[in-house]
Symmetry: C2
Subunit: 152 residues, 2 copies
């Protein structure tokens, strides 16, 4: 199924490789600090990725201190512990099941959207997981974009 | 939070605009046919987006016939009906909660992955929703890439 060559894409091959074709989940880390600017650039790129009613259930906690990551590692599978401790930064992606309280901000066009969720915690949890996962995927794509040669 | 200009990105501005910054969810359709090649190119681009254990719970049904879309519309909110019928193609994204049966194919490195899910339907449903949503997001990003001027 390698039909990409037969159809024109508006995304140039270098961008295709960078984001998806030649990208792999990193397993080793140098411990070099990640500048806040680089993270803000990723957020700025992906923050408006499409979700239902523009909802924004994703919350990203940035764990920079060794103490915060040692605390996290106790909740990870053992095979993920060492690499998490070796990194200078871990982004912990979680969802807020009370996302509907601020839904009128990203979804001003449909004032009734929040009420759809207010009375139904099960619907809210399912929606937070689905749409928060969409947001997580945009973040995973976006974090492949910044130039990591920031120190040079 | 417009810090993108302060940090170098490996993704050129045109690609940033195409995929995320200037992309909007389309609300009107011409009815022009979408070539199969264009869809295969999207699939080929996004098929290896990162998921847990490389799992692939997403299933995409391509509804081309008017009859199939009229059947679908009965299950949509009324505001989505007219535009769905006007399009020449609707991609229906669903998840397969029995994804673990084929997990050894995308995840040969961890033979025990399927067993983690086999005995636990609730875990499987949650994982299908989370990872299927990640895959859905890669598809939503990828479908912004093909050149729709295929007929010209």
């Amino acid at each position: 199924m390698s039909s990409s060559a037969t159809h024109r894409s508006l995304l140039d091959p270098a961008a295709q490789d960078l984001l998806l074709r030649q990208a792999y989940t990193e397993d080793r880390f140098t411990g070099e600090a990640v500048p806040g600017d680089a993270l803000r650039a990723v957020h700025d790129l992906v923050r408006n990725g499409p979700t239902a009613f523009n909802q924004q259930p994703l919350r990203i906690h940035l764990l920079r201190s060794g103490a915060s990551r040692r605390r996290l590692v106790r909740h990870l599978s053992p095979s993920n512990g060492e690499k998490t401790l070796a990194a200078s930064l871990t982004a912990l992606l979680v969802v807020d099941t009370a996302f509907h309280l601020r839904l009128p901000e990203p979804c001003p066009a449909f004032a009734g959207a929040a009420a759809l969720y207010a009375e139904d915690p099960a619907r809210r949890e399912r929606s937070a997981l689905l749409n928060g996962s969409l947001q997580a995927a945009y973040f995973l794509v976006g974090i492949r974009a910044p130039d990591s040669r920031w120190g040079r």
